[in-house]
Assembly symmetry: C2
Homo-oligomer: 338 residues x 2
């Protein structure tokens, strides 16, 4: 058994299907496992283990507009699972059509489970904690904890779903409502051609995509865009230059000026780019990153090559059956669009 | 063969599983067929026949926020398929959080194919025509035809889907974009316990629900709430009294003062009620209808009985896999939230 494990380990570290795969692994790029059970284990929360009942309930709550003050905004409004997990506008729009006061762009929820930290300033450690924020934020869903708990507990369909997920004696709280949303989000993982390539299928990526990957590594992009998410860690922003659109919004990063690196998975689908959504094209985003993070000039040709690699990062989305949400009752709180 | 058909016809008209079923049929109530092929035939558009490629494309467009001016509002925003096909607010909220200027409530899209006419004033004959309206309306999706056509044609994913649906030589126009949305909506049919009962399964509805159905007919509700939709025809409004909330909004019906009768299918899920959404509870809605349409007083007990019948009208929704929408391209029009 031990012998086999050692052999397995040797196989991974010394035998690569191509030199590029070796280079990519050494640069810190990590594929999503091809085995679904391994993925489930990887994204699981040991303190609140995933099961199908929790995921089903979390999905309902993710699509539930009635937990917002107006009854009109759900998690899916800004993190639309049909459009790359984002809303596609520069700054998020919430309750009463309020734009994010810091001009922050909605990050994708796909593969967010692989991030070191959540939010652009990394202030929350995981998706369960993250989900607590936007529901209460005035410019987003503008609810109160009481509104959310009262809404959910007013509907027998939700009370039953909580019992199925957590057992008969479950107490429905704001914390376990939001934690269940986070659990569902953990399952939003999108394996791609890049992952197949990194697991040894050298034909999964085209020659041009492989060249783009090499350019991506050679230029130094993997300094920050590493790991499974090709991003998700906190990094200094504007090391070798000042961001061209630094004046759009007032976001300055966390207390140390660090900003969360966005994932590059599905980046084709998540324009506009950067924390303030001020960059519209991938080409400009790539060139700007070279200038302000790596202190290099990335040529148009190199940018185009890197962009070609990004095609291989477009992943297969999990099939989501649109949930039928529970019927309201006489005790369901009134909606307030004002 | 002819003999069998005659026998079949006799069976329907003379042999009822219960006297109540006979009474319901005679009052004009019609079930949704239990046979899926019959349903498909019933909801089909002979001029633009349904096929799976059109339905799939129509579903994508139904959930497509990028055809709105802001990129944030789709058909599903106000006609949410997870909450009875409605938004649950009194007056629809659209672009820039604008409330419907006439204080009109979003009607459900489920079973709308069975309506004689579309919109509260019945101005459009079918779902294909109806879908043309809200996308262009300033307080709703606020788009222009040009924006919609340019957005759809900018994405190869849509161009391919149109070819699959209509053939290689299809020209993508505002009219066939909206018609395809209408075709998808034709499939949103929700068979219920009431339908099973009307087809001879006397146990499909509880004793109390059957009593409620009898009260519903005896009181005269089937004067307007008939047909497959239990509604959907244009009727005079306020025949025997003045609507309690007539001053909410300025809607006065069509040029003859007629108002479209809402469907009662899934009515448990589509509060608030009436064209201006001013009535919150079913009980009040039932009593108010008796007073202003039938000139009778419906007691609390009778209203409760009718409400119990409505439980049997809650139908099974078709399973909707949330669509993955096509990637934008450099020529996809910019979003404008202002």
């Amino acid at each position: 058994m031990i012998k086999l494990l050692v052999l397995g380990s040797l196989a991974v570290s010394s035998v690569f299907a191509s030199p590029l795969m070796k280079q990519a692994r050494e640069a810190g790029l990590v594929p999503i496992p091809s085995d679904k059970h391994k993925v489930r284990k990887l994204v699981d929360n040991p303190k609140n283990p995933l099961n199908n009942a929790k995921i089903r309930l979390g999905k309902m709550l993710y699509f539930e507009p009635r937990i917002s003050k107006s009854g009109l905004i759900s998690c899916n409004t800004c993190h639309n699972l049909g459009t790359g997990g984002v809303d596609g506008v520069a700054a998020a729009i919430g309750h009463k059509w309020t734009a994010n006061p810091h001009h922050l762009n909605s990050p994708t929820v796909y593969n967010a489970v692989f991030f070191d930290a959540q939010f652009w300033d990394g202030r929350d450690p995981d998706l369960e904690k993250q989900a607590q924020g936007p529901i209460l934020a005035g410019p987003e869903m503008a609810a109160t904890k009481e509104h959310v708990v009262k809404t959910v507990t007013s509907m027998p369909g939700y009370v039953d779903a909580f019992k199925k997920a957590y057992g008969k004696d479950v107490k429905i709280t704001y914390e376990n409502i939001t934690a269940t949303i986070g659990l569902f989000e953990r399952t939003l993982v999108t394996p791609s051609a890049f992952d197949a390539f990194m697991q040894g299928n050298t034909k999964a990526m085209s020659k041009e995509e492989q060249e783009g990957l090499k350019t991506f590594i050679d230029k130094g992009c993997t300094t920050c865009h590493t790991g499974i998410a090709l991003g998700g860690s906190m990094q200094a922003f504007g090391i070798t230059g000042t961001y061209k659109y630094a004046d759009v919004g007032d976001f300055k990063g966390d207390k140390n000026g660090l900003v969360k690196t966005p994932t590059l998975r599905n980046i084709n689908e998540t324009a506009p780019y950067f924390h303030n959504g001020a960059v519209v094209t991938l080409k400009e985003a790539i060139v700007e990153m070279g200038r302000i993070q790596l202190g290099i000039e990335i040529t148009d040709k190199e940018a185009a090559s890197i962009e070609t690699f990004f095609n291989a990062l477009e992943g297969k989305k999990p099939e989501i059956v649109y949930p039928q949400l529970p019927n309201p009752t006489a005790s369901t709180p009134a909606k307030n669009v004002n």
